[in-house]
């Protein structure tokens, strides 16, 4: 039988899914062990046990000076920026995307502009943003918005154009105005696309967030990582990296679940 026709069983599939994680952990543990036997004071690859102890400390013990648990403070600050930025982007992308998809005039006027805009490297604009919007929250949120909105807009306008032409004609023969078509035909069919779109954009959003926090901030996950880098505190950095990965995964999972719950008609055909 051909290799492409071999399928793993259920237990086999679960084991295979776990395998890469186990391998990476094992490789890290071995590498860390080799370095620590050679030099017990090595900071580059702290032992998994050390990372665990650090993680417990970071999650539970308040800072000696401010009496606040910094990890949670960083988490809330970063999530607020991230979700704020993504929400604003989603709203803008939704409105412009629908306009481009539905109105020929908006399509002629905007689609080229959005295409060019999406080529501008957002990180190159970061200094300008800091100069214009200061070092506060605004510049970080604006970076996320500038970074992901053009792509989201392009994708969403394409999704509108993917809606079969027949539906637009049908709606018109039922007496629908442009506004009713936008509200009752396009918008409901675009929302699930928006969610998958947001899921894809979250990766870049995290990138822009951490970049902005690394450059100028006083709280936030990215700020903390770049702060403790100076002390080569790899155990802290690794804890934060794993925590960010976990947060990203949970947000993605929540969006996926929401999409499935809120739009049963998407799955009805499958």
């Amino acid at each position: 039988m051909r290799l492409m026709n071999h399928f793993p069983g259920r237990p086999g599939a679960v084991a295979l899914a776990m395998l890469p994680f186990v391998l990476v952990l094992a490789a890290y543990a071995i590498g860390s062990d080799i370095r620590l036997t050679a030099n017990p004071a090595d900071k580059l690859l702290p032992a998994p046990g050390t990372i665990w102890d650090t993680a417990i400390r970071l999650f539970t013990e308040p800072d000696r000076r401010s009496q606040e648990i910094l990890l949670w403070k960083d988490t809330f600050a970063s999530l607020a920026r991230l979700l704020g930025g993504v929400a604003i982007s989603a709203l803008i992308a939704m409105i412009i995307g629908m306009a481009i998809g539905i109105l020929p005039y908006a399509r002629s006027g905007l689609s080229g502009f959005v295409a060019v805009l999406s080529m501008v490297p957002p990180l190159a604009l970061l200094p300008i943003l800091f100069i214009v919007f200061g070092l506060g929250e605004v510049s970080k949120i604006v970076l996320i918005v500038i970074g992901i909105t053009p792509f989201m807009t392009r994708d969403l306008s394409q999704r509108v154009l993917d809606i079969p032409r027949e539906q637009f004609v049908k709606a018109q023969t039922l007496g629908a105005s442009t506004w009713v078509v936008a509200l009752n035909v396009v918008l409901p069919q675009l929302l699930p696309r928006l969610i998958s779109n947001v899921r894809l954009s979250l990766g870049s959003a995290w990138l822009f967030l951490i970049a902005a926090e690394a450059v100028a901030s006083n709280v936030g996950l990215g700020y903390r990582i770049f702060l403790v880098r100076r002390y080569l505190a790899m155990d802290v950095i690794l804890t934060y990296v794993i925590w960010i990965t976990l947060l990203a995964f949970v947000v993605d999972w929540l969006l996926k679940t929401l999409s499935r719950k809120a739009f049963p008609w998407m799955e009805a055909g499958l």
């Binding site: 079969p164 027949e166 039922l174 506004w179 009713v180 035909v185 008609w265 009805a268």
Partner: protein, 257 residues
């Protein structure tokens, strides 16, 4: 009295002529089948009836009104696919047939309850009441087309346009849909245009069968001349208008052919 009046209609896309000199008048309540080879402009003709596109020359009037420039509720339409809204349940699709004409695109309160009641009657009529709360994607092709026809009728159009409505269905379902459509027509006596590539279907369902073809053909420039109506058959009585034959031998019956 002619109800739909097509006078001297020409259509071309760029240099390519599609239709030329199309003249036809249709009485109220007639069922017109439109047949022809692929690319002969029959779908273009339907799109112009629908006012999705406007002819380059000539006019199409319904009941003496002004030529339409965009699709409107006078014209109901059922396409081969994608005619129903996938994000609305079967019942909501029918309610949308009334609600879309309002400002918000939906009805509220007593109006909505009345619309839902009428939708349920329609569901009964098109035999879909057992799937009222399902989404179209979970229906079979035939059920989706019945829903599409029901939805088009809900908006009470003056002419119903069908663009190869049964083209994607299997033969058994297609026959049942023919029966359904004939029943519906007997009840409503609506003016119907149906584009089909199935001659038998065209003659079976239609009162008249319009054939589109190119009368002139330039072998060096196939896009030079457009198609027009080359035959206008009376399709009643199985397409044999001048004799009601009782013979069974040496006679081709359209229903059995």
């Amino acid at each position: 009295m002619s109800f739909v009046e097509v006078s001297n209609v020409w259509q071309a896309y760029g240099d390519r002529s599609i239709l030329e000199r199309v003249n036809v008048t249709i009485d109220e309540g007639e069922f017109i089948s439109i047949v022809g080879a692929s690319g002969c402009g029959k779908s273009t003709f339907l799109r112009m009836l629908l006012a999705e596109e406007t002819p380059k020359k000539g006019t199409i009037r319904i009941d003496g009104g002004e030529p339409a420039v965009e699709p409107n509720p006078e014209r109901g339409v059922v396409f081969q696919r994608y005619s129903v809204f996938p994000h609305l349940t079967v019942r909501e699709n029918l309610v949308a047939g009334e609600g879309f004409a309002t400002f918000w695109g939906r009805l509220f309160g007593a109006q909505r309850r009345a619309a839902v009641e009428r939708a349920d009657e329609m569901l009964e009529r098109i035999g879909l009441n057992h799937v009222a709360d399902q989404f179209p994607a979970s229906l079979s092709g035939g059920m989706q087309q019945r829903l599409a026809i029901g939805q088009a009728l809900t908006a009470k159009p003056r002419v119903l346009l069908l663009d190869e409505p049964f083209g994607a269905l299997d033969p058994g379902t297609r026959l049942r849909m023919h029966a359904f459509l004939q029943e519906l027509r007997a009840e409503t006596n609506m003016t119907v245009f149906m584009v089909t590539h199935d001659l038998e279907e065209g003659f079976k369902l239609g009162d008249r069968c319009l054939v589109f073809d190119k009368p002139r053909w330039d072998p060096h420039d196939p896009g030079r001349y457009g198609a027009t109506i080359t035959y206008d058959f009376d399709a009643r009585n199985n397409g044999i208008p001048f004799q009601t034959t009782k013979e069974t031998e040496n006679v081709v019956h359209a229903a059995t052919a």
